[in-house]
């Protein structure tokens, strides 16, 4: 049976349509496998090869990959949740109630979205501290660290804007506490708060603004910065290995060597 399936797959891969989409061709040679990465618009963000040592669990704890995984789950469950949700008062709360009692698997969908969101915030923090303690922020990777800090802020904002959407007491007062802080900003405090909420207090306008930020603006920003973040890993010489520990004058040599390797 598996043999038969294999032959079907092979036949499919030989068709003209398949070949027009995937030009790397079939085969398991190193060249084919390198092309599979290089000739794919998404995968080409990654390098074609990776140090074996960096694939062990010990090296990274897979925290970056897992963070991306939670983001995928959040996008899928988020789109499904959008089908049942109106960002208006008081309909929003009724919709969340419906998710709980009326929609098939609605409760599961909301649970998965919420627990994944908390997990993502936790994983982003864990990833940051892990990268720091390994020293992977050091040159030439300093800019990717900055991109990572931006991604941390985007993640916090994503979670924070999503917090308001159920429009229950928990949501309302958490956002009220947060937005009160923004009015403490010197000089522009009240203006910042007004811009954020679309009014002087958390109301229907605030819900709509948070909804737009949560479902459109921030996810787009996240995708953009994640792309840069992953592409920079390749450009900065791959996942950090401890051989380029500073203080042994190995850093500039390794960086230059990696730059040369990258260009060839």
């Amino acid at each position: 049976m598996p043999r038969k399936t294999d032959s079907y797959v092979e036949k499919l891969q030989r068709t003209r349509v398949w070949r027009s989409m995937f030009r790397s061709g079939t085969g398991s040679s190193t060249l084919h496998r390198a092309l599979a990465i290089q000739q794919n618009v998404f995968l080409h963000l990654l390098s074609t090869k990776v140090r074996r040592r960096m694939l062990t669990f010990r090296a990274t704890w897979y925290l970056g990959a897992l963070t991306l995984g939670t983001f995928f789950i959040l996008v899928v469950t988020g789109i499904l949740l959008m089908l049942y949700y109106h960002p208006s008062v008081p309909q929003a709360y009724a919709d969340v109630k419906d998710l709980k009692f009326v929609v098939s698997s609605g409760m599961f969908l909301r649970n998965l979205h919420r627990w994944s969101a908390h997990t993502m915030v936790f994983l982003v923090f864990a990833h940051m501290f892990r990268v720091f303690y390994r020293g992977a922020y050091r040159p030439p990777r300093e800019f990717n660290w900055v991109v990572g800090v931006v991604l941390l802020l985007i993640t916090l904002l994503l979670s924070y804007t999503g917090y308001l959407l159920p429009w229950d007491q928990l949501a309302f007062w958490a956002i009220t506490v947060g937005s009160n802080i923004s009015s403490a900003v010197p000089v522009f405090g009240d203006e910042v708060r007004f811009l954020m909420l679309g009014g002087h207090q958390v109301n229907a306008n605030a819900l709509l603004r948070f909804y737009v930020l949560h479902c459109v603006v921030l996810p787009l920003a996240a995708v953009l910065f994640v792309a840069v973040h992953m592409w920079r890993i390749r450009k900065d010489g791959g996942l950090y290995v401890r051989q380029s520990e500073p203080g042994r004058e190995a850093v500039p040599e390794t960086a230059a060597e990696e730059a040369v390797l990258e260009k060839v």
Partner: protein, 234 residues
Amino acid sequence: MTEPKDFTAGIGSDIKKSQKRVLFVTRRTSAQVKVADEEQVQTYPEGLLRVVLAIELLAIALVLISLFFNAPLEGMADPTTTPNPAKAPWYFLGLQEMLHYFPPVVAGVLIPTVLVVALVVIPYFNVNVEADGVFVKNRKRRLTIFYIGAGALSVFLWFFQVYVALGPTLIIAGLMFVAAFSSARSPHAFRRYLESRAVSWWIMSWFLFELIVLTVVGTFFRGPGWSWVWPWRG
């Protein structure tokens, strides 16, 4: 006449493993490979397979959690009824805890701004890039800075009665003090470990420690009016 070349081009001795390496040796020195080329594997399929597997395991775990634990949903938002205490999401509870002690412009604006700026600039300061133990170089000067810095911070936190943040500060300062008077040849592995920690390690560990303590306190130990409660009592 052409100038004599000031470099020689050659092929690395590890040509079989990594076909791409070309060596240019400048000046009249001999080539020396300090770091041997690492064993590499193809990203597709080896690397991607593992990443997909890791993500799938996490997805299974999250699905199981979602089957057994429901997301909270309280009554509809009511601007006229304030719950006591009104808490921010858990990752902001550290800041809300600070809000209890300091005016909003300090706890809500100054501290987060300083934190973000501090995180961004980490890799751009050489003091954060060095890997030597904090008191190895410039020992006298650094000891003075440590005494003044840790002392001032502790007095400041004590003055404003921020005991929640004072605790972790004193513990980290105590460990740094042990590090200052430990040597690389100490018989205790733990003291050798402390001695070899760089200054950036200490600052980040202090930050991480504070973050955990403040978040846990804000989540579990704060009740009505932000008063101290024991989570196991009622």
